[in-house]
């Protein structure tokens, strides 16, 4: 149990998926301009991360059993792509409100490296099913935290007088650097709480 909490805290703070591991930078920079889109996108990412972790875990066991580990990359990306399509169709048909909230982000997520990244990470680390799910949840929540924080930073930045040559993407990256810097402050929190 302690280890599971440690995994969650690591994903959320110390090893934040976006700000210290650099997964999912494209949506982090592209969709973080407004708070509501940032929340919608990250909710969709958390959803797909959990679904694909749950789906790929048994498939991976099957691959290992048949000595087919080298097919992991191909199979995982296909499973994720198919899953995202399926989820989209199911949501559209049966859960209209949820579809309206998450739907537009779903197709964008297939090729989001955060989703494939977390699945591959779970496999590399040899996590059990529960550990994989918790790790994915931590990663997803970390993604959401980074997106929401950064949306706030960008909102403030709109009113700032930015030097001409930094306007646009460069100042966004410099701001991201500062947000990432602040996350360095969480270093050692897992050890400090006596979780590991």
């Amino acid at each position: 149990m302690k280890y599971l909490i440690a995994l969650l805290v690591m994903g959320l703070l110390t090893n934040n998926f976006v700000l210290s591991k650099f997964y999912g930078i494209c949506p982090f920079l592209g969709v973080s301009k407004k708070l509501n889109t940032a929340v919608g996108m990250s909710a969709a990412v958390i959803f797909v991360m959990l679904m694909s972790t749950a789906a790929t875990y048994p498939i991976n066991q099957l691959l290992i059993k048949n000595d087919l580990e080298y097919l992991q990359t191909v199979i995982f990306i296909l499973v994720i792509a198919a899953l995202v399509q399926m989820v989209e169709i199911v949501l559209k048909k049966f859960m209209k409100p949820l579809y309206n909230a998450l739907g537009i982000y779903l197709p964008l997520i297939t090729t989001n490296c955060a989703v494939l990244g977390v699945v591959l990470l779970n496999v590399d680390e040899g996590y059990t099913f529960v550990q994989s799910m918790v790790n994915s949840l931590g990663a997803g929540l970390g993604f959401m935290l980074a997106m929401v924080l950064f949306a706030g930073v960008r909102k403030k930045m709109e009113n700032c007088d930015v030097p001409e040559f930094l306007k646009g993407l460069p100042i966004t990256l410099v701001a991201a650097s500062l947000v990432s810097l602040s996350f360095l402050g969480f270093g050692g929190i897992v050890e400090g709480m006596g979780l590991i």
């Binding site: 996108m41 990359t73 537009i104 490296c113 990470l121 306007k167």
Partner: protein, 258 residues
């Protein structure tokens, strides 16, 4: 793409005019993640270039066979196959690189550059042009990674090309007399200085990328070109959302370009 273009131009456009990282803003994740050293940057760049050239060739060959409705999954399968091949080769011949790049080696599958080029170029052009386009984009990607890597490694670790033998192991033991990069740490400490570790930390990655992007923008502006932006070109699913583009991109990418 209908007008006649020279092969040379197709190659060089990827280097500067349409540099995938600094102009098209593609593949930002590996750009930030693996550039803590030049050695890793070269390794990542070469691996991605191989995948890019091979997948461009195959996708260009199949461009008349693949129905447009299922083209994205088809492209992903082709790309994933080549990534798996490269991954196995790297594991076998350059194991140190495999450890250094970690998950970012298999993640070449979802690298926007590769899917983006498949969608934007290889699916519309002949094999030779697609191969040259892939090579140019790959070299441009590698060059941008090396620029990032050079700045971050020299400032952050006080070394340059450290551990290059891990890559050169491909060509045999002790190439260049076992030269394993430069180390300025001793020279620095004699004048009482230390490398600025923050540059090899994640925060430094974002910062160096921002400054490089600003420099590239400045140069582009001097030539009357627009600034680099995160637009639909940098979204690998742009092909998917064409049907209701305005609706879909309103909250997402258009925001960033506005």
């Amino acid at each position: 793409m209908a007008e006649k273009k020279s092969l040379g131009k197709e190659f060089t456009k990827g280097l500067i005019k349409e540099n995938p990282v600094l102009r098209l803003v593609l593949g930002t994740c590996p750009t930030l993640a693996v550039t803590t050293s030049v050695t890793n940057a070269i390794g990542m760049g070469v691996a991605a270039t191989i995948v890019l050239v091979c997948s461009n060739i195959v996708i260009s060959l199949l461009r008349k066979v693949i129905p447009s409705k299922v083209r994205i999954p088809a492209y992903i399968v082709v790309i994933a196959a080549f990534v798996t091949i490269v991954q196995m080769l790297v594991k076998a011949f350059v194991p140190a690189l495999d450890t250094a790049l970690g998950a970012f080696l298999p993640l070449i599958v979802v690298n926007c550059i590769i899917l983006g080029r498949a969608e934007a170029f290889a699916s519309k052009n002949t094999v030779l042009y697609s191969a040259v386009d892939g090579l140019g984009m790959g070299v441009g990607f590698t060059a941008a990674l090396c620029m990032m890597g050079t700045v971050r490694e020299i400032l952050g670790a006080g070394t340059f090309l450290a551990g290059i033998q891990d890559l050169l192991v491909l060509f045999g033991d002790n190439v260049f007399g076992g030269w394993n990069g430069l180390d300025f740490n001793n020279a620095l400490s004699t004048i009482g200085l230390q490398p600025i570790t923050i540059f090899i930390l994640p925060a430094g990655g974002f910062f160096v990328f921002g400054i490089l992007m600003a420099t590239a923008n400045r140069i582009a502006e001097g030539r009357g070109k627009p600034k680099a932006e995160l637009g639909c070109t940098s979204c690998p699913m742009a092909g998917h959302c064409n049907k209701n583009k305005d609706e879909k991109c309103e909250g997402t990418d258009k925001e960033a370009t506005a």
